[in-house]
């Protein structure tokens, strides 16, 4: 993602609806700069004949990393397009092809960009044509989107299966790193391992590259190291009042290296983030020195309007200190085990359950709200995505039963066409004033 929303010369492709956030961390700027540099390098590699995989966020990128296959994550590209204020242009292209405007946009925005007759005018020179498409069948739209995409570019497509848990051991976050065999049903892990083997063979066949077990083990080690820093950062923010940073600082700085996970660079950024936040905390510096309210943002980031969050810091001393991005990075990624492929399966088999399945998600949100000294919760619900909603009734009930007031906002995280900034601000201000009892500073 990128919060630079300036409308560059993109031929009328931008619709400036949102505001960029103000970057406060040196590491945030460094991460964003690197991402742009990395993408330029990726484009160059693809121009020189290297493969390019387009993958969904819940596809095991560690495999691609171990095989040195360049890849772009569907949702990352969507967030970049959205931050560049180009989502309306691309989504209109998709609609012109006959696709309904209210179909899931978060996962189809990148496909929409494939219909651009001048793809080179896209963000950062545009997304090169992929040579492979891989998704996981975690919702009914995935097979549609990725098959359409693959056919658009006449490239092979691999769908990974998705299984459903029938057992729900409590407090998943405690068992996930080491006791994951107790957490996830063995048949689900078995199937995912088989599926991963099929994916590796598919990639070997279609790219000519070889899977390196040695490199894979190193990738897995690096991911755990990165997760350990994310955990320390989350815990540090959680215990520090006023918070040294807010989610406008952390979302990008966590997610850019998340898409680069399994590299030393990603570990270094995670470490730098921790060190910079630590330094701020030691100096008593805060994202909002006048912090009066700590807020939790549940749901996807508002990619086209990351500046939205900072309005409430200025006006109310209300700071969004928590998002799923650092929360999951802290609790959901670390996995330790002897068999790296099965260990990788344990990272992905439950990702969907942790995030979108009540009561696993609701229990975790309550735990995180307590841990992060949260005063109120704002839940962004995307009406076009059933999967992403994840039991909003149960989440709200669990949080409110635990004493955390909840505001549910209905909006699409990438489609600025339906965003009403003043109405959304008004809803949140009303929540702050009436439910949390805070007045403008």
């Amino acid at each position: 993602m990128n919060s630079d929303s300036t409308a560059a010369s993109t031929g009328g492709r931008t619709t400036a609806t949102g505001k960029a956030s103000v970057k406060r961390l040196a590491v945030a700027a460094k991460a964003t700069a690197y991402q742009k540099e990395w993408f330029a390098g990726l484009r160059k590699r693809v121009e020189q004949g290297e493969p390019l995989a387009i993958v969904n966020a819940d596809v095991p990128q560690e495999i691609f990393r171990a095989m040195d296959i360049p890849y772009v994550v569907n949702q990352w590209w969507s967030s970049l397009v959205s931050a560049k204020q180009m989502a309306p242009y691309y989504l209109n292209l998709l609609n012109e092809q006959g696709y309904r405007q209210d179909l899931c946009r978060y996962c189809s925005l990148a496909l929409a960009s494939a219909f651009d007759p001048q793809p080179e005018n896209g963000p950062w020179g545009g997304l090169p044509a992929p040579t492979l498409a891989v998704t996981r069948l975690t919702c009914d739209s995935q097979a549609k989107i990725f098959e359409l995409w693959a056919r658009k570019h006449n490239v092979p497509f691999y769908p990974l299966e998705n299984t459903v848990p029938t057992r729900m051991p409590p407090r998943w976050w405690e068992k996930a790193p080491y006791e994951w065999e107790q957490l996830f049903e063995p048949h689900r892990l078995d199937l995912m391992v088989e599926d991963f083997k099929g994916l590796i063979r598919f990639l070997e066949t279609h790219t000519g590259k070889t899977f390196s077990e040695t490199r894979f083990r190193e990738v897995m080690r690096l991911v755990n190291e990165q997760a350990s820093y994310n955990r320390k950062t989350r815990d540090l923010i959680a215990r520090t009042r006023p918070a040294p940073v807010s989610i406008t600082d952390t979302v990008q700085t966590v997610m850019v290296p998340q898409w680069q996970r399994g590299t030393q660079w990603a570990v270094d950024i995670a470490r730098s983030l921790y060190e910079e936040v630590s330094a701020l905390a030691e100096k008593g510096e805060a994202a909002c020195p006048n912090e009066r309210i700590r807020l939790m943002w549940i749901g996807r980031g508002l990619w086209f309007n990351l500046g939205f969050y900072q309005h409430f810091e200025r006006r109310y001393g209300a700071v969004f200190v928590w998002s799923i991005y650092l929360g999951l990075a802290a609790d959901a990624y670390a996995r330790y085990g002897d068999d790296p492929l099965r260990t990788l399966a344990s990272r992905f088999v439950g990702m969907e359950d942790m995030l979108h399945m009540p009561t696993w998600n609701s229990d975790w949100y309550v735990k995180e709200a307590k841990h992060n000294q949260i005063d109120g919760v704002v839940h962004l619900i995307s009406d076009s995505c059933t999967q992403g909603a994840g039991g909003t009734y149960f989440i709200r009930k669990a949080l409110e039963d635990a004493g955390f007031p909840v505001l549910q906002l209905h909006a699409d995280p990438v489609d600025a066409r339906s965003w009403d900034d003043s109405a959304m601000i008004a809803q949140l201000e009303q929540f702050l004033e009436r439910r949390l009892g805070v007045k403008p500073s």
């Binding site: 006959g98 975690t138 549609k144 359409l148 199937l191 076009s384 039991g391 149960f394």
Partner: protein
């Protein structure tokens, strides 16, 4: 139900649908178990082999969906809401167990939410839940996974009834299922004949009744119905294929046929998908059951766009449809993804189509009547011009 010789078999099947809850309660009074089935992949063969009555969960007729609206997000389509409502409002309180199959993302979430209700609000009348995690990708990996899940489901059902389901039980159940499906297939032939002897509305009434009554009893009525229908008058109208969202109510078919069409086929779960394929009686029963549900053409929720384009082309051709009506409910995303390419394919074949989307669960007839009438009329005019 008494098979009154003076009442037509079609009327008795229609009545069975209307009396579906009483039929299930009567089954229970006679000592049988009733198992609710949500999703089109619940293997009824296993339930019938266990002596249970499988009943498909049907949308709430007229009560609205206040509880579903409370629990389900706006992204759930109205058909899912309509079936969620009677589960949480107690209409299906009587079912001994509820099995949900992995037939769509929405149904997976319905399982999660019902499970959460049972956990967080145990006073709500949600039945005992089982999830049947049948995968749909056409691979050996999925086929083996499905066999294991099916054996697990068999064991679970055995725990309910307190005895083993034997190979003979399964063989008999497979035969019962195959027999009513063969009879439904003949019903379908009457409807797709060059001169249809049944309307689409009648066919839908027959198909859906088969899912809420004892299958052997249904078979007996179907045999009578076939004899009666073959003597009936031919039905005239534009041969219309209905694609898109599932129809467990007859409103849409009635409206289309009032507008001059005969619905000769559909691609949703309450039509031809019930019939094909049969369960192979010569194979190992678990293999045969899995293959039936796994290897058949996937529904839109589990298919790629290309698969659905090919499927529609084959189905439209098989029933010699003159036109296609795409009827898609609000938030029913899977068929919406299929529509643009399906319509392109139909255009290339010279088959006209009409898209009606963002619809509620129950069809609002009057706002649609003129559109459908004009569409049918234009197809008729084109057909006449073509003959000239």
């Amino acid at each position: 139900m008494t098979a009154n010789a003076k009442v037509s078999a079609l009327d008795l099947l229609t009545e069975a649908w209307d009396r579906r809850h009483q039929i299930a309660l009567e089954w229970q009074r006679e000592g049988g178990r009733v198992v609710g089935c949500l999703g089109e992949e619940v293997p009824e063969e296993l339930l019938i082999a266990a002596g249970c009555l499988p009943v498909r969960i049907v949308g709430a007729d007229e009560t609205g969906t206040p509880l579903a609206d409370q629990y389900l997000e706006r992204g759930f389509d109205p058909y899912v809401r309509a079936r969620f409502e009677p589960i949480v409002n107690g209409t299906y309180r009587y079912v001994d167990h509820l099995i949900i199959s992995n037939s769509s993302d929405a149904l997976i979430r319905v399982y999660y939410y019902l499970r959460a209700i049972r956990s967080m609000e145990p006073e709500k009348p949600v039945p005992d839940l089982t999830f049947y995690d049948m995968l749909h990708t056409p691979s050996r990996m999925s086929a083996l996974y499905n066999r294991d899940r099916t054996r697990e489901l068999k064991k679970r059902i055995e725990s309910w009834i307190g005895r083993e389901i034997t190979r003979d039980d399964l063989a008999q159940a497979i035969e019962v299922c195959n027999e009513y499906r063969r009879l439904l297939s003949r019903v379908s032939e009457l409807r797709t004949a060059r001169e249809p002897k049944l309307t689409g509305t009648q066919a839908l009434r027959i198909f859906r009744a088969s899912q809420v009554m004892p299958r052997a009893e249904c078979g007996a009525l179907l045999r009578r119905l076939l004899a009666e229908a073959e003597q009936g008058p031919p039905r005239h109208g534009i041969r219309l294929f209905v694609a898109g969202s599932a129809q467990d109510q007859t409103d849409l078919y009635e409206l289309a046929e009032e507008c001059g069409a005969v619905v000769v086929g559909e691609d949703h779960e309450w039509g031809g998908r019930l019939i094909r394929p049969l369960t192979d009686p010569s194979a190992d029963p678990i293999d045969a059951i899995v293959d039936r549900y796994h290897l058949r053409l996937p529904a839109s929720t589990k298919a790629t766009v290309s698969q659905r384009v090919r499927a529609l082309q084959e189905e439209v051709s098989a029933c010699r449809a003159q036109a296609v009506l795409f009827f898609i409910r609000e938030s029913d995303d899977a068929p919406s993804w299929d529509v643009p390419e399906q319509r392109s394919m139909l255009d290339a074949l010279g088959i006209p189509s009409l898209l009606i989307d963002r619809q509620p669960y129950r069809v609002e007839r009057e706002p649609l009547r003129e559109r459908i009438r004009m569409f049918v009329e234009s197809v008729r005019n084109d057909a006449v011009r073509g003959r000239d």
